[in-house]
């Protein structure tokens, strides 16, 4: 049947693909039809089946027209069925063209479709459309009929819509439906958000069940009462001694109250005293702060000193001023130690007084000591601590003199020192010195920087040639001998064939301002030793015969730490540079010089006090050979000046005096305050180029310039001795 079918219906492509050879032949026939056009196929040999018809040229050229019809040749067109009713074959209608192989109804709906609209309104989807579709598929004719029916129905509906007036109720219903649609835009269920009920399992309901047992019987127990009772007992115990002490307490309380009262009274009295003093010394106070000598403008290279207050204390009128020291914190506060400079003096006690410029008539703080005080120093970091050197056992049994140190806290009443060197072990001196019948007195002390543990420490130098390092621990003073000054001379024979190495007698001590390990020691022999605390037996440098008499003071320059000045009993002041054996400057005043100090405000100004009661001020920048001021302060017949101190803030100095000859004047131990006139405190005026430099840098430059003049010659020619008259 098939070949015939193919021949008849060449349009059936599926059939043709199965029947390949036929197809090829068919194609070939087609090719042959258009053979004249196929020149590019030349040379190709077509495979031909053996049984192919051999057609003549004419036959091949013949055109065969093919017509496509809708007539299905495969459908039997004449099916008949025997009808028993008619007793005849009757013709059956032709079978349908469509064959349904598989029918899967889809669940997707177009959103605008009617069905979808019904779903959206929440209405149930009637299965009829599906059935209709199936039916429609199965039976074309019926479907067509139904379609026609639908078509018929639609116009009816349309008609309904078109005529709303006659049926308002229907219209109303429809509106309601629309409203519902608007209110509930229901989500269309899909496979992700919709689960068929049949596929769900049951969720088991939860129920709560619990039981509780009866707790075991409990009780409460406490010992509060016990504890309270104990406390009461304890309190009773406490009360008993308290009651006994009460009487003493009352006394103490009264004492404390009275002391507090007296303290407040004292405060008031002190204020009043200061007020009175201010009124009495008003002129001096004005001068002290504001008056400058107007004549200085006309005097070139000369200045003057204006005496201000005189400080003295009645009970120390027989004493000498042995040392002066300004407090580092309060510039108007200074300490004065009263003792004696000469060992033939029979004074056996001493005093330390603290004066304030605010009250020139009476000391702020008085500390009587049982032996003469030799020197004192304030601690810079702790300005309330004052170290004092006492000369003990003045001419004791063997006729010796011992030195001791004590540290006072000036915030406390001066009843007892905070620290005191142990009399037996730590006193300067000892057996050797007792045998030698030598005198020991500590000439100079210097506060050292605090130790690593935060303890305070200071150095002292004494006539027994020892430099001692004292550390203030919690309760006591610890002593270390840093160095003993042995002389560079061969030992001399002592009693009983012993050999004694001679020691230098230290009189003054100066620590290097920059390097706290290096210090200079001046001795009674006139030698200056440069030492280091790190080496106890070697001198870094020895200035042999720096002076011919005891060195009284060595001071480092405040601006250049390699420059220092020394003064001595041999009438001379010498200015030295470190590492240079010869002095840079030398001034001979013709009288023993008790003290020399560099000014804190200028690098070239230094002042000294001499035994003839004069204060002499040098400014090397102005005059390298002569003092710019030499002024008699006290009567040269009666007094000599011993000590001098510059104030660090204001241009004034304080000088302490002493009696000059062995006649005891009653009115000694006075501290004079002197104001420096403008010419004595000239500061460097910076040139335009130097405006950016600080005062300190300018001062250093000034000193350097000055030094460059005098450094060159190896030996400096001493200036001609001149007597300076005032």
């Amino acid at each position: 049947m098939r070949p015939s079918v193919t021949k008849r219906t060449p349009s059936k492509v599926t059939e043709l693909s199965k029947e390949l050879p036929r197809h090829i032949s068919f194609v070939k026939s087609r090719v042959d039809v258009g053979g004249g056009d196929m020149d590019w196929l030349r040379g190709k040999v077509f495979l031909k089946p053996e049984d192919q018809l051999q057609l003549s040229e004419a036959e091949l050229q013949e055109e065969i027209a093919r017509v496509l019809t809708i007539h299905n040749t495969r459908v039997p067109d004449s099916l008949v069925e025997w009808s028993w009713k008619l007793k005849n074959f009757i013709l059956l209608p032709p079978p349908p063209h469509l064959v349904t192989v598989l029918n899967v109804p889809g669940s997707l709906l177009h959103k605008d479709s009617e069905e979808a609209k019904i779903q959206l309104t929440g209405g149930l989807v009637v299965d009829t459309p599906f059935e209709e579709a199936i039916v429609h598929d199965d039976e074309e004719e019926r479907g067509e009929e139904e379609e026609e029916e639908a078509d018929i129905e639609e116009p009816e509906e349309m008609a309904d819509h078109k005529e709303p007036e006659p049926e308002p109720e229907h219209e109303h219903e429809h509106e309601d439906e629309e409203e519902i649609e608007k209110i509930k835009p229901k989500k269309i269920p899909n496979q992700f958000n919709f689960c068929e009920r049949a596929a769900l399992t049951y969720t088991n309901p939860m129920r709560e069940m619990s039981t509780q047992t009866i707790p075991p019987p409990t009780g409460i127990f406490n010992t509060h009462e016990d504890f309270a009772q104990q406390q009461r007992e304890k309190e009773k115990e406490r009360r008993l001694p308290v009651l006994q002490l009460k009487k003493e307490d009352v006394k103490k309380k009264a004492q404390i109250e009275s002391t507090a009262l007296t303290y407040r009274m004292l405060q008031a009295a002190k204020t009043l005293e200061r007020m009175i003093n201010q009124n009495i010394f008003d002129e001096i106070a004005q001068d002290y702060r504001y008056w400058d000598d107007p004549s200085d403008e006309f005097k070139v290279g000369e200045g003057s000193l204006l005496p201000l207050w005189k400080f003295n204390y009645e009970k120390t009128k027989k004493h000498d001023v042995t040392n002066l020291c300004f407090n580092s914190r309060y510039y108007d506060l200074f300490a004065v130690s009263y003792g004696t400079m000469s060992f033939s003096n029979l004074i056996t006690n001493g005093t330390v007084c603290l004066f304030s410029l605010k009250n020139p008539s009476y000391p702020e703080w008085i500390c009587p000591t049982e032996s003469p005080v030799m020197c004192l120093d304030f601690n810079e970091q702790h300005p309330h601590l004052l170290v004092i050197v006492l000369i003990y056992n003045f001419f004791n049994d063997e006729g010796t003199m011992d030195g001791a140190v004590a540290v006072y806290n000036i915030m406390l009443p001066p009843t007892a020192p905070q620290y005191r060197s142990n009399d037996v072990v730590q006193k300067h001196g000892g057996i050797v010195w007792e045998v030698c019948l030598s005198q020991i007195k500590i000439f100079k002390i210097h506060w050292a920087p605090d130790t690593e543990e935060g303890n305070l420490a200071f150095y002292s130098v004494s006539i027994d040639g020892k430099i001692n390092y004292w550390i203030l621990s919690e309760n006591d003073l610890a002593l270390t001998t840093v160095m003993t000054l042995f002389l560079d001379r061969p030992p001399i024979p002592g009693p009983d064939g012993t050999m004694i190495t001679l020691k230098g007698c230290g009189t003054c001590l100066a620590f290097h301002p920059a390097n706290q390990n290096i210090f200079l020691v001046g001795t009674e022999e006139g030698t200056i030793y440069k030492c280091n605390t790190a080496y106890s037996s070697v001198y870094m440098r020895t200035y042999n015969e720096a002076h011919n008499m005891p060195v009284y003071r060595i001071v480092f320059n405040k601006f250049n730490s390699s420059i220092f000045a020394s003064c001595s009993g041999d009438w001379r002041i010498k200015i030295w540079e470190d590492d240079r054996m010869e002095p840079l400057f030398m001034f001979d005043l013709g009288i023993p010089i008790g003290d020399v100090q560099w000014a804190p405000y200028s690098s070239t100004v230094l002042a000294c006090v001499s035994n003839d009661g004069k204060v002499t001020v040098f400014d090397l920048n102005i005059n390298k050979y002569r003092p710019i001021c030499s002024q008699q302060i006290v009567s040269r017949k009666k007094y000599k000046l011993t000590r001098l101190a510059f104030n660090n803030k204001l241009p004034f100095i304080i000088v302490g005096d002493d009696n000059n000859i062995l006649i005891f004047y009653e009115n000694r131990g006075t501290v004079n305050t002197l104001k420096l006139s403008p010419n004595l405190r000239l500061k460097v005026k910076p040139t335009k180029k130097q405006l950016h430099l600080t005062h300190r840098e300018l001062e250093i430059m000034k000193l350097e310039r000055l030094l460059s003049f005098v450094r060159e010659p190896a030996i400096l020619q001493p200036p001609k001795d001149t007597r300076v008259e005032t």
């Binding site: 075991p216 019987p217 409990t218 009780g219 409460i220 127990f221 406490n222 010992t223 509060h224 016990d226 504890f227 309270a228 104990q230």
Partner: protein, 96 residues
């Protein structure tokens, strides 16, 4: 045993509502513990607590020390408060 007997004379019990058997045992335990760790109250209390837990069921509590006050809730018939070796106070109680 004799040593324990001697030691037993040194205690005073301030309050006890245990059964006689338990009381006897607890006191012996306290005295032994206090004797054993004379200088460590923590060890004393640990030993007492652990031993009591083993013997009489869980959740015993022990306080050992000098000079303390307290207020406790305890299971009836399970409390002992005693002084031992001077002023060492031991309080043991059960509270589940």
């Amino acid at each position: 045993m004799s040593s324990i007997n001697i030691l037993l004379h040194t205690y005073i019990y301030r309050k006890c509502d245990m059964s006689d058997e338990m009381k006897q045992e607890a006191m012996e335990l306290c005295v032994t513990a206090a004797e054993k760790y004379a200088d460590n109250y923590e060890s004393v209390s640990r030993m007492i607590k652990e031993t009591m837990d083993k013997k009489f069921g869980a959740s015993w509590h022990t306080v050992v020390g000098e000079g303390y006050g307290f207020e406790i809730t305890y299971q009836l018939k399970h409390l002992l408060y005693m002084y031992c070796a001077g002023n060492l106070a031991i309080c043991i109680w059960k509270s589940a």
